[in-house]
Subunit: 230 residues, 2 copies
């Protein structure tokens, strides 16, 4: 009866969480072996393996063939699995995702106005230049995504960046590609360029209200294209 107490794996997860909380285990560290965990916690290897699998699915642990289990260093995927299944079960609408994304990007904009560094402004300027020259919708879209990613990173809020990243991945998965393109095409190249140009100028001035308004204008435009299309 390996499954006598179905909550044993919870103990194992709690133990690992406590070690993380106390600083004993850090990003990139190797976990004790399954045998060691089994002995130190006094639970079966099966329970240990279940707990580690669960942490793998969550995206917090990665198991390296023959080398053991490691705490990941990159958590961008760790919320995707639960959020995507939740999204499907709740039968949430793309509009709901859009509204969540807007709120996070507006906060990124506000924080970036304070925290953006000169090299990031230079990167944005270079992306803008390439946007003017972009010859395909695909190229424009790719540059657009890069632009927003740099603005997000400039917020210096890792939690915010990660949550935004998951929502963006969700939108990519659930809003069909062609729909994204309609959104993108719905706005003329000129109006998109203007909006990113405004956003860039506002960031350069490091004026929080200006940056916020430029980002809001950006989302209003997408929202309009989106409503029109519904």
């Amino acid at each position: 009866m390996p499954n006598k107490n179905p909550k044993v794996y919870d103990q194992v997860i709690d133990d690992i969480k406590n070690k993380i909380k106390s600083g004993e285990i850090k990003k990139g560290d190797r976990l004790p072996s399954e045998r060691e965990l089994s002995e130190s916690l006094g639970v079966s290897r099966t329970s240990i393996r279940e707990a580690i699998r669960a942490l793998e699915v969550i995206g917090l642990v990665e198991s390296r063939r023959g080398a053991g289990n490691y705490i990941k260093t990159n958590f961008e995927d760790s919320l995707f699995e639960p959020l995507s299944v939740m999204f499907m079960l709740q039968e949430s609408s793309p509009r709901e995702m859009f509204d969540v994304r807007e709120s996070l990007e507006l906060q990124c904009a506000r924080l970036s106005a304070k925290n953006i560094q000169d090299n990031e402004l230079a990167l944005l300027a270079a992306i803008l230049d390439r946007m003017y020259l972009a010859e395909s919708e695909e190229e424009s879209l790719e540059l657009d995504i890069k632009f927003h990613y740099i603005v997000a990173k400039a917020s210096r809020n890792v939690l915010l960046i990660n949550v935004l990243e998951v929502i963006s991945q969700l939108m990519d998965e659930f809003i069909k590609k062609f729909r994204m393109q309609i959104l993108h095409v719905g706005n003329t190249k000129e109006s998109l360029l203007e909006i990113h140009e405004n956003l860039f100028r506002a960031l350069k001035s490091r004026d929080e209200a200006k940056v916020y308004n430029a980002m809001k204008e950006h989302f209003n435009l997408i929202r309009k294209a989106y409503d029109y299309d519904e």
Copy 2:
């Protein structure tokens, strides 16, 4: 060698996800038994059990003693586990959580201005009345939380409500109780009442900009108390 292919459990999760995506499995449904899943997918019972445990940890499946595995109907907890471990590993600051929370609550405020219903306004009015009469900090704090929860629900965006709920739980876990109380005490009872009164009036007028500004003012006040305390 039960662990020959460590990614078998991923197949099982994908299969369950596909069934959810296609609508074949819905909230509250019972999953096929472990034996049935094992046969239909041609993988070991061990892999099936690992996958189900992982979905349990994520908070999407609940296993009922002797009755099998069910898709949960309530997902408020489903993001908590991954987000809290991620939060600890990233060594995020309470300030980072606060900024994420602010962005979500501001969006809730905006959407609630459009979507709040008369019975929700009546509930808020009743809570306000009780806030005026509250005799302990504890009672005020509890009413405060209720007030915000009703505003969040009035947004009618389930995804937004769920993400906000997780961030709030995280703040409860990581910002020590006494700290929350300092934040709360840092603001006089009068100023907190005034802010909630403003928020209520703005919601009653259903004026989006007014509601947004009232919520922003609220967060500015908390942020000031917080900075002061740091």
